[in-house]
């Protein structure tokens, strides 16, 4: 393998080459972080990795499973690039990694992907992930500004804002939701579209996303099979009653932007000192609710915002800030976070769905979930550290090839995941988009920041089906069905990726002076991170013959086939 990658290095120039120096600096930093690592040390000297390895291995022992072999360097390199920065590796990144002989090269690569060198791509990837979590993939409307949301997220991830701050910022955000407006705060877009009808959506989504509590059904009734009670929904809802989404209008009366503010709230009973809300039971009985957190902690029911009387007496409470503090202190918050981030890397979390941590839904690895949550808190909610632990774990290093001893470990058929082999999953559409740019080296010319992101939105919109409900429910046809295959066969994105025009990727490969064998190798490395098999080489050569020496057209055919394969679109 090593010979293969080094052999195709020579012919490529220009954008295929990364910055040597920057890589070196990042490597140095990463190496320092794992200074205690020794050769053969399976957890790179990181106690949290050791903890994960022990817990997952205990699960294997219980279920009498044997883990698969380790993934190849190429496979692992492709996987970790996709998961951490949202795209496949370049040929150069791949060959550098394979050629690296350091015993801690995996830790070094993770260090580089989490380091300053990759910070823009890291932030873009996680901003994409969280935009989908917080506001969905549907296009924006009057109340939600995608671009504002994404800009805020990108900044948060590029600064690696601790997760507790991140959550509190989203839950308590005030300001204007659209970039360029006075008082802009993009974080407001999480709640700006969820405050209608007394903030029912704000209540449901906040509980679901950040605490792993499914409360949406308890709006109307006690839950039939989990412990959720209707009063808990409305007591949680009471925290959002000071929040208001004000509309700013243009002269044309079009909504220009939304401003999220907190205002004194007199309550539905008209007594601000004891501001209450009412809800209706199924039998028509009316009940009252005050702000009470899900663990029973009560908060001053005063509807006034904090202020001072003339004599200096303080009164009032900011309910959203009180809520954020209670959430951050709750053991559910780190568990929900760890579960979500784990599932990002493994395709499955410890519970299904990942945002339901209720007692009725027992996790696959309860001690690992709890323990990882506690360690995340001890690490001051440093998301990058959590990612480092997960990506350096033994489980994450395993091959996706199912082995004799672990065929029963198949969450796709409803089993609880045991992580004894890597589970196949299709790239997210955002990952595909970004990977095609990378594979064709079009990322160099990609429009940076918001402009590029909006182009990606436009492309994504073809896959989104919005159901038009108040909850903003949506589905995607980017799910392995025919429309997706048609897009890959014939769509503009792949058309562009397989263009043969001067200066494009295929043109550069064709004119690089490499032999045909090396050209084919390069295409395989760029898209699949592996060498072609003998059979594939034979077919590729037949294409060369069929194109009668028109090398670039033959390369185009091969490239089209490679990009349309299951192996390309599946993270394995």
């Amino acid at each position: 393998m090593t010979t293969h990658v080094s052999s195709c290095r020579s012919g490529l120039t220009g954008p295929l080459r990364g910055s040597r120096l920057a890589v070196f600096v990042a490597l140095a930093a990463a190496t320092a972080a794992v200074a205690v690592a020794r050769e053969g040390d399976e957890h790179f000297g990181i106690p949290q990795v050791k903890f994960i390895n022990e817990q997952v291995a205990a699960g294997w022992a219980d279920a009498k499973l044997k883990p698969s072999e380790a993934a190849s360097d190429q496979e692992w390199c492709r996987r970790v690039h996709l998961d951490v920065i949202g795209r496949i590796p370049t040929v150069r990144e791949l060959e550098d990694f394979v050629a690296d002989s350091s015993p801690v090269k995996r830790a070094n690569l993770v260090g580089r992907l989490l380091g300053d060198d990759s910070v823009d791509e890291y932030a873009r990837n996680w901003a994409d992930v969280w935009t989908t979590v917080l506001i969905g993939r549907s296009l924006e409307n009057d109340n939600v500004n995608r671009s504002g949301m994404r800009q805020w997220l990108r900044r948060s991830f590029s600064k690696n804002v601790p997760y507790d701050r991140f959550v509190a910022d989203l839950v308590t955000a005030s300001g204007v939701n659209k970039a360029g407006e006075k008082g802009f705060n993009g974080a407001t877009n999480f709640l700006s579209g969820k405050l209608e009808e007394n903030g029912i959506q704000a209540t449901a989504k906040t509980a679901q996303i950040f605490l792993g509590l499914q409360v949406q059904c308890t709006q109307c009734h006690n839950h039939p099979f989990n412990k959720g009670k209707q009063n808990q929904f409305w007591e949680f809802n009471a925290f959002f009653r000071q929040a208001k989404a004000l509309r700013h209008f243009e002269e044309t009366r079009e909504v220009q932007a939304i401003e999220l503010v907190d205002e004194d709230w007199a309550g539905e009973g008209g007594n601000a000192a004891q501001a209450e809300l009412y809800y209706e039971l199924r039998n028509g009985q009316i009940k009252v609710a005050y702000p009470v957190f899900i663990d029973g902690t009560t908060v001053d029911a005063n509807g006034y915002l904090p202020a001072k009387l003339e004599d200096g007496t303080e009164y009032g409470v900011n309910r959203r800030q009180a809520l954020a503090q209670l959430m951050v202190d709750s053991p559910l918050m780190p568990k929900a976070a760890v579960n979500r981030i784990w599932s990002h890397f493994f395709g499955y979390g410890f519970t299904r769905p990942i945002d339901d941590l209720g007692d009725h839904n027992a996790p696959s690895h309860p001690e690992l979930l709890d323990g990882l949550g506690e360690r995340f808190r001890e690490q001051s909610f440093d998301t990058k550290e959590l990612i480092r632990w997960i990506t350096l774990s033994h489980a994450y290093s395993l091959s996706s090839r199912i082995a004799k001893g672990n065929a029963t470990d198949d969450p796709a058929v409803g089993e609880k995941p045991k992580f004894s082999h890597f589970y196949l999953r299709q790239m997210r559409p955002e990952e595909l988009y970004q990977s095609l740019l990378t594979a064709t080296e079009a990322d160099q010319a990609e429009e940076k920041g918001e402009k590029g992101a909006r182009k990606k939105d436009e492309w994504l919109s073809q896959f989104i089906i919005a159901f038009g409900t108040d909850e903003g429910d949506e589905a995607t046809t980017f799910n392995g069905s025919i429309p997706q295959v048609l897009m890959m066969f014939n769509g503009d994105l792949v058309k562009t990726a397989t263009e043969t025009g001067k200066g494009g990727f295929l043109d550069r490969v064709a004119t690089s002076g490499m032999s045909n064998a090396h050209r084919i190798d390069t295409l395989y490395a760029a898209a699949l991170a592996r060498k072609p098999t003998r059979k594939e080489i034979k077919l590729a050569n037949q294409l060369m013959v069929a194109r009668k020496g028109d090398a670039i057209s033959a390369l185009q055919d091969i490239w089209w086939a490679v990009l349309n394969s299951n192996e390309f679109i599946i993270n394995h």
Binding site: I402, F467, T469, A475, G480, L486, N566
Partner: protein, 425 residues
């Protein structure tokens, strides 16, 4: 560009297939396909069963449409009118459907428990409550799976969803997924723009990569990918794609269905069923009327529904297709009998109605009854699985059918629902 001219310079599809047949893993469907071209074209028109689901996304208030309660405090302002079916009255804002009710029947005793949109949508589509560990197949996947053998010459997907995306194929696998199109019948990305010889060479290369990856035993999604590839190739080369081109219908026909997305969707459903597609779902959203419900219903939703649905039912009847085509009208649930402070109705699953007709269903009957305020079913209540079992029976699909879920567990078709006897003669 028309489907026939999609291939370069009038090259026949038979010629094309002689090229494609070279591609190993993708050759099976291609060969079946070549054979189908040799079959007598008239065979394409032979009788087959089909079903059309009119999906009312958001949860329509059925006591304002099919089960009115005039005079009750919960009744709302709409008046009932008589219909072409003896003794059946429906909403005054459905005058065209009123003339078609002798083709349809109503079940006024649906009683379910899922009043969350996504849960209700899943439950009504599959007959199962959502379960994080198993994905169940929806109506379209089940019916397409069971009826596809009746239409061996079908080259387009057997499960088409117009507008909404429906619910997926679950454990039946991605090759039974809904093919989602917009109401204008536009299918994106159909043209590759290269000659067939070259396409077949590309496909051969592609199938080698697919086979290698599948052979490495990494899990089912790699096989599913290859299956969907085959279906896509079949579809890209099919003249049957014409049946999506709803705009080719005469203008007066289009007008009869209404110049709306739902109208065009219903017209497309008729064309697709004529072509042999066993299952079409047409989506009409906008029923989540938490506020100002009556104006929304009388001014927009009901006229749009009435026009398109009546045109579809009468067209199918006139063309002799109704006896083989089941029609199902339903949403994920209904809306509260109590009218809320915003002049709307909220989610309600306890007592509501669906409409069915065609195929083996008895026509012009009403099954079940709700209380005078609409809050209770006072006769035997029916569930999503009962309705699904009844629809399958109307299509002569055996209710003894058992699927095997991916985990090896047997799954009875329609979740072992019981047939609603009054719907059958």
């Amino acid at each position: 560009m028309s489907a026939t001219s999609r291939f370069i310079d009038g090259m026949s599809r038979r010629h094309f297939m002689s090229h494609v047949a070279g591609a190993a893993a993708l050759a099976a469907p291609a060969t079946a396909f070549t054979n189908s071209i040799l079959a007598n074209a008239a065979d394409l028109k032979r009788r087959h069963k089909a079903a059309i689901l009119l999906w009312m996304g958001g949860g329509p208030s059925t006591m304002d449409i099919w089960d009115l309660k005039p005079g009750a405090p919960t009744g709302g302002p709409f008046k009932p009118i008589s219909t072409s079916a003896d003794g059946i009255q429906i909403c005054e804002h459905m005058p065209l459907m009123a003339q078609q009710m002798h083709h349809m029947s109503l079940v006024r005793s649906m009683s379910t428990r899922e009043a969350d949109h996504m849960r209700g949508r899943y439950y009504m589509h599959t007959g199962y409550v959502p379960n994080p560990n198993v994905e169940h197949p929806s109506y379209g996947a089940v019916i397409a799976h069971e009826l596809a053998d009746q239409v061996p010459d079908l080259e387009i997907p057997p499960f088409v969803s117009v507008g909404s995306g429906s619910v997926g194929p679950g454990f039946l696998g991605m090759s039974w997924a809904p093919f989602v199109v917009d109401a204008n019948g536009n299918v994106r990305n159909l043209d590759m723009g290269i000659d067939p010889t070259r396409l077949s060479q590309r496909l051969e290369m592609l199938s080698a990569i697919e086979e290698k990856f599948i052979g490495e035993k990494r899990g089912n999604s790699s096989d599913d990918h290859a299956k969907v590839l085959s279906k896509t190739i079949k579809l890209m080369t099919s003249d049957q794609m014409e049946s999506f081109k709803v705009m080719k219908e005469p203008k007066d026909v289009q007008d009869r269905y209404g110049n709306t997305g739902f109208g065009r969707g219903c017209l497309m459903a008729r064309r697709l069923v004529e072509q042999g597609v066993p299952f079409v779902e047409v989506d009409l959203g906008g029923w989540d009327n938490h506020a100002d419900i009556f104006k929304t219903l009388s001014d927009t939703k009901l006229p749009e529904l009435d026009k398109a649905m009546a045109a579809l039912v009468s067209d199918l009847a006139e063309r002799g297709l109704l006896d083989d085509t089941a029609i199902i009208w339903m949403g994920e649930f209904s809306r509260t009998p109590n009218i809320n402070g915003n002049g709307g109705r909220d989610h309600w699953a306890r007592s509501w109605s669906v409409a069915v007709g065609g195929a083996g269903f008895k026509r012009g009957v009403v099954v079940g009854e709700t209380s005078s305020d609409g809050k209770e079913v006072v006769t035997e209540p029916y569930s999503a699985q009962d309705l699904m079992a009844s629809v399958l029976k109307s299509l002569d699909i055996s209710l003894e059918t058992t699927f095997t879920a991916k985990n090896g567990r047997p799954m009875k078709i329609a979740n072992a629902g019981k047939v609603i006897k009054e719907l059958f003669a």
